[in-house]
Amino acid sequence: MIRLNNVVASYRTARGSINAVDGVTIEIPDGCILGVAGESGCGKSTLMKLIYGDVTSPMGLASGSIEYGFGDDKGRPITSDNIRDYWFNRISYIPQSSMNSLNPVVKVGKQFVDFPGSDPDKKRVLAQVRDYIGKLGLPVETLDAYPHQLSGGMRQRVMIAMATFFQPQLILADEPTTALDVVVQKDILLLLMELQEQMGNTILLVSHDMGVHYQVTTRMLIMYAAKAVEYGDSESVFAAPLHPYTKMLISSLPTIGDDSARDGIPGRPPSLWQDLSGCRFADRCPLATARCRAEEPALVEHKPGHWAACHYAGEMTARAEAA
């Protein structure tokens, strides 16, 4: 169980401080695939960085804490202070652009065995790696190739192999398939799901594609303007979203075979530089009332296992069904 306790991440700039993640409190059960969705600027990437422990100035964990629920070899608990020591071991990260993450002048195999603190017997590690990547559908020659000689899909598989080789408890994937063709994307996503089933770890997946979330995730977290606005089982969130933003987000995406009218969400999220009071979605929300603008809704469990931060949770879905 990973616990985020009122996590606030701020960026310090010449203009002042801005909270890119403004108080997120959720519990992530073990063994789930959690999808994090929201438009650009909502804070999902910052949240990923926080959880991963990639916190460097000007970003900082202003307040709150993260409990990871897993310990090191001696059973001591790991917290946000020492999570960096366990990169690739207990927690790993699959980036969006594999081309930017692999050293272009070093062969892939060498990059694998060059992890600090890994087994000093490089040959043995290499043999294990060779076995492992075979399972991921990569030919053995991959290890002898340079990154630019591989296709995008193969490179991303290499990244996944690196991220999962030490069987970490938590894997963070930030838009892992956005740069890939749709056919390759499906293969990669299926691979990730398979690995998760085998290893039983937790995956946090950030994507702007709600279709990907629907296919892959078991739980969903929707973020808006640095706040968590909905959190629950994917089934529940997709079938009956509680927050109007989630509903509008899902309806803004066309699906093949579905002729119903689709609309983009007009307007833009509020600037985080302003003084924000009340619900941050109020300006764009069709259900907004005076109460929404004055009183910020808390993330409340409206249905078992399904949280939403809205005074009128569930109403938009109810209205749509009645219509």
């Binding site: 650009s40 600027g41 609309d263 983009g264 007009p266 833009r268 600037s271 985080l272 302003q274």
Partner: protein, 308 residues
């Protein structure tokens, strides 16, 4: 039908522009030139301003033509009458220095403008028009680049020794100095040519000249400013080098010719250190000013683009 009208662009909206796809930050609320200023640039500009104003305004107050020899007693020490003393030719060192700075600057600016104009025109056109035109032009440019300037000038100087016009030197420096900048500008244009807004301008009906002036030029203007200042430096330096060897028109006071005369009249041996040291320090300071201005502009432009 959904309301297509986005919320009108208000100041709040401006501040909330999506970070993922926003162009580098520009604040149009500030005065248009304030972003330029940084310590380095201000310092450099102050130094250049002092040299420019001093060397262009002070000559109006000169009591005599400083180049005229035997105006005063030779090798006088520093005194209230002669702030830097006099030199071995009986000239007031300070006044000679002021005129020298002026002439060097005139030469530098003349050459700077000449080289900038030619290299910009050639670089822009070659990079943008491409094809056979570009190939022929670049062949010429590359030939000029490989010709070493100094040996040519030395040979020419030796051939026409003493009989050359001061501005002939300038023209020769322009002829052999434009090629390098032309090549740089052409490479900048090559990459600009592929950018989407050039196509947009084409489809808006703009012709080649309009595109070069309105679309391409603003993007190379930053380089041009820096290049211009560097060229001034280069020109003054080259002329000084020639003068020191005695191949320029040394009766015209320039920074290089002072050093030439000082060396030829054994300034160090006669104890008139000021004669030799003053122009050297002046040259160093002037170059420092030019360098600071050039890198100051560079830093300012880089900041504006958002590159640290």
């Amino acid at each position: 039908m959904s309301d297509l009208r986005d919320t009108t662009v208000s100041p709040a909206d401006l501040a909330a522009a999506e970070p993922a796809a926003t162009a580098p930050n520009q604040r149009h609320e500030r005065a248009s030139w304030l972003w330029l200023l940084n310590t380095r640039l201000v310092l450099g500009l102050i130094i250049i301003a002092i040299f420019l104003l001093g060397s262009f305004l002070l000559p109006f107050f000169a009591p005599h033509d400083p180049a005229q020899q035997a105006t005063y007693m030779k090798n006088l020490k520093i005194s209230p009458a002669h702030w830097l003393g006099t030199n071995g030719l009986g000239q007031d060192t300070l006044w000679y220095l002021i005129f020298s700075v002026r002439n060097s600057l005139i030469l530098g600016i003349f050459v700077g403008l000449g080289i900038s104009a030619i290299s910009t025109a050639i670089g822009l056109s070659a990079g943008f028009i491409g094809g056979a035109y570009e190939r022929i032009v670049m062949l010429i440019v590359d030939s000029f680049i490989t010709i070493p300037l100094l040996p040519i000038l030395i040979i020419l100087g030796a051939l026409i020794r003493g009989n050359n016009n001061f501005f002939t030197i300038g023209v020769i420096i322009v002829i052999f100095g434009w090629a390098w900048n032309a090549r740089t500008i052409r490479s900048m244009v090559l990459s600009l040519r592929e950018r989407e807004f050039i196509n947009m301008a084409r489809f808006s009906g703009a012709g080649t000249l309009a595109i070069l002036v309105r679309e391409v030029f603003p993007y190379v203007s930053a380089y041009l400013v820096v290049g211009f200042i560097n060229t001034i430096l280069f020109a003054i330096n080259t002329e000084a080098t020639l003068a020191v060897i005695g191949l320029s028109k040394v009766d015209v006071p320039t920074l290089g010719s002072i050093i030439f005369w000082a060396l030829n009249y054994n300034a160090l041996f006669t104890g008139n250190v000021t004669w030799l040291v003053a122009p050297i320090i002046a040259t160093i300071l002037l170059f420092l000013g030019l360098f600071l201005t050039s890198t100051g502009f560079n830093a300012a432009f880089a900041n504006k683009r958002g590159v640290a």
